[in-house]
């Protein structure tokens, strides 16, 4: 059985792995940090939150200060889907944000059965992810 844990991640209870819900890529062991199986990009926050007023003239511009905060963008190495972001102080180790008790998860879902699995999820396009 496969349990969707986030918009883009699921845990395969049989293989005990984190998987990408978009392209089925096997990411990392379920008892570990899924981020270890992803790619990371250190994004300048100004790219995403553009200055609204002129940074040449003003100290505060509606755009985060890139010396104070960065955006860590985590993406699937297979399909490039952006799985998670983390606004981080420069140099702060990324968080192990979801540390799952896999044995408890298996027991919980063994009692529930597969029909209880929620059906919300990403827009999965047929020719995406496997095409490379």
């Amino acid at each position: 059985m496969k349990v969707p844990m986030t918009e883009y991640l699921r845990i395969d209870l049989d293989t005990e792995k984190w998987e990408c819900r978009v392209c089925d890529h096997v990411i990392a062991p379920a008892e570990g940090n899924y981020k270890e199986g992803l790619l990371v990009h250190n994004r300048n926050p100004r790219d995403i939150h553009p200055p609204i007023i002129d940074p040449e003239k003003y100290r505060f511009t509606f755009s985060p200060d890139p010396d104070w905060v960065r955006i860590l963008e985590f993406c699937c190495p297979s399909c490039g889907t952006q799985v998670e972001t983390e606004y981080a102080i420069p140099g702060h180790p990324p968080l192990w944000d979801m540390q799952v008790d896999v044995a408890a998860l298996k027991a919980q879902w063994a009692a529930r059965g597969p029909s209880a699995v929620p059906d919300a999820g990403p827009v999965v396009m047929p020719d995406r992810g496997h095409g490379h």
Binding site: T61, P64, C75, G80, I89, P90, Q108
Partner: protein, 756 residues
Amino acid sequence: MNDMSTRAKMPSTEEITLIKKFLDDTTLFLGPDPEIMQNHDLMPRTDIEDAAITTVSDAHTVAKIRDRIQAGCDEGFEMVEQMGAAPGAKWGDVITGVYSASGDLAIASAGGVLIFSALVHHPIKFIIKNWMNDPTVGVKEGDGFIHNDSRYGNVHNTDQSMILPIFHKGKLVCWVASTVHEGENGAIEPGGMPSMAESPSDEGLKMSPFKVVENYQIKRDILTFLQNSVREPKLQYEDMKVKLFACLRIKQRIEETLNTDGPEALVATLRLTMENVRAEVKRRISEWPDMTVRTYIIQDSTLRENCVVKINCKLTKIGDRLIFDFRGSSPEFTNRATNTIVAGLKGMLAQVFLCYVWPDLPRGQAAFAPIEVITDPHSIVNCSYDAPNSQSLMSIFTGFTAGQHAVAKFLYSCPEKFTKVHAPTFNMINTFIWGGVSQHGETLGNLCADLNGMGAGATVNRDGEHALAPVFATMADIGEQELNEEEVPFLQLVSKKMTRDAIAPGKYRGGQGYTMMVATKDSEQWGFMTTAQGAKIPPLQGLFGGYACGTYPLCKVKDVDVYDVLMNEPERFRHSIEDLMNEQPFDEASYSTHHMGMGFEISKRGELFMISQGAGAGYGDLLERDPGDVIKDIEEGLISPGVAARLYKVVFDAKTLAIDFDATEAARAEERQARIARSTPYAEFIKGWNKPKPPAHLQYFGCWGDDTGTLYMGSPEITRRGDQPRPNYMTHPKDVRIAELEARLIAAGAMGDEKK
């Protein structure tokens, strides 16, 4: 020594009683009681409650009585909202409730500021413990108690409660209380939430719970003293009366129930409501996956200076236990006002559940009662008696967001949900607090209800709503600015216009915030202050690949009278911060930007103060956003075409905005490949990225990485243990600036021969 201590005689029971009586009789000061203040669970079931439940436990009777009491609370709420003089009352920053005889909040009004629901039980328990059996005070029929000192309960000292004991045939059966964000309280800045406070002595009126009503009459001598202690004496009286009469109306509804169903039915209903909610919360938690979720939220200032203040959150669920661990959060600031007492943090966390996760549950204290909270002593989320806390909102709101962010990661996989999975809602009170003498000669101090216009976070299947509601009251209103302007000497020249490009992108974007531009008109004694985080670092995190909001500064235009401009050269005026600041259309005017912690500042006629409300966080990968929705955002002025095309990779005709779907799909596929190309495998990435200590160029407060036991105190070299308090003083920002300038003078050899 050993000999002596082993031989010491143990006191007898009689002696222990005598010692206790001696200590009780000679207590010199009844400060906040840690036994009360650190506990948020329900009081144990009493014998009276037990007997009542034996008599009445039929679910239909309980439901009927609960609905009647609920309706009574809602009626009281309506009265306060309609008749209250404080702007906060008019916009729903109010709650009414019925408390058990032991002081637990059993049933609260459906509307209003639910955080109070987790916080007003503390002063009632203080009254029970200290005043009930004190011959100089006592608790009698017709009494009413007032309270505002947050160290004895509640959020901050602007909130005043009126608390009434309810008797039946001479026996105390329950309590009713009404709480309002009153605003003014005589602190060093107007409006009741001074960010300049450097000690509790700067925070104005401090009412530990005391009796202010006898025989249902407000005692005039005490009232006059209270009126002299605040800037709005008439409001103080008016709202004390309004709260008293709201309580009396709820009392009337309770008495009707007592007459028809008897006291056992009421007592059993209050107790069973709480116990059932508590049990249901445990059941719902047990459906979550067993997991630990970690997150942190940054406050980027103390409101006096920019710095990095961490709110660290580890949320663990095991079986039916849910444990918030905030250890590793910043140490308390000894002379800054952004600390909170731990009860305030818990109250705000209760909001996560009552408003955003399980809004179907009856509202009261029980919904958060079984959830555990761990904090470091003397930390920014559990501050000491001696630390100022008038700006506790800064820490309870960021604490709330940490909770909201963490909870979402538990909820996604749950088959049974009561709301949609939700990215963090904007959490800062981006509004103008104001004060001075009005055009009618009245002394006023309060704020614009725009603080209630926070942008909502996106959810699993739709965009966040704009300017929806504050995180502390999902059913509050943003008020009518035009009504406000009849009372105050300033206009909002631009109001409720969305701030373009202040975005939180995602598959579903966050709800956006709006621009506010104010200028004083008919008073020479009028000023503003702003109190918010987030001018350098966003105070949110995004969810599942979505982004947080950007940052929000304060902009000023001085040495101009825009009312003269509007009269003589109206074509020069611009209707957005972007155009005013970038085009600088007024000759001779000065234009500047600032962080959002502006201490109270007197304004001159026609000077512009400009801010924006913030956006809620985005949800999901922005490359999955429906191209049609991106174009709609452009059409609605939320995002500029260039930014939309660059971020969302939507290809469209610049003139007609017609979408080229094939080109869009190609551009998005290309961007996914570009992501893979520019990103680094995790193990390799952290080799370059991870640092053992906070960066030296930032004043950083809180833990770093996994070591939550070591708290940094503004420098990589200064730390304390989490469990070992140390003072944490900040230097006055003006002294910092003077030192900087003197260093430059010395470097330039321009200090001359000034004597030391």
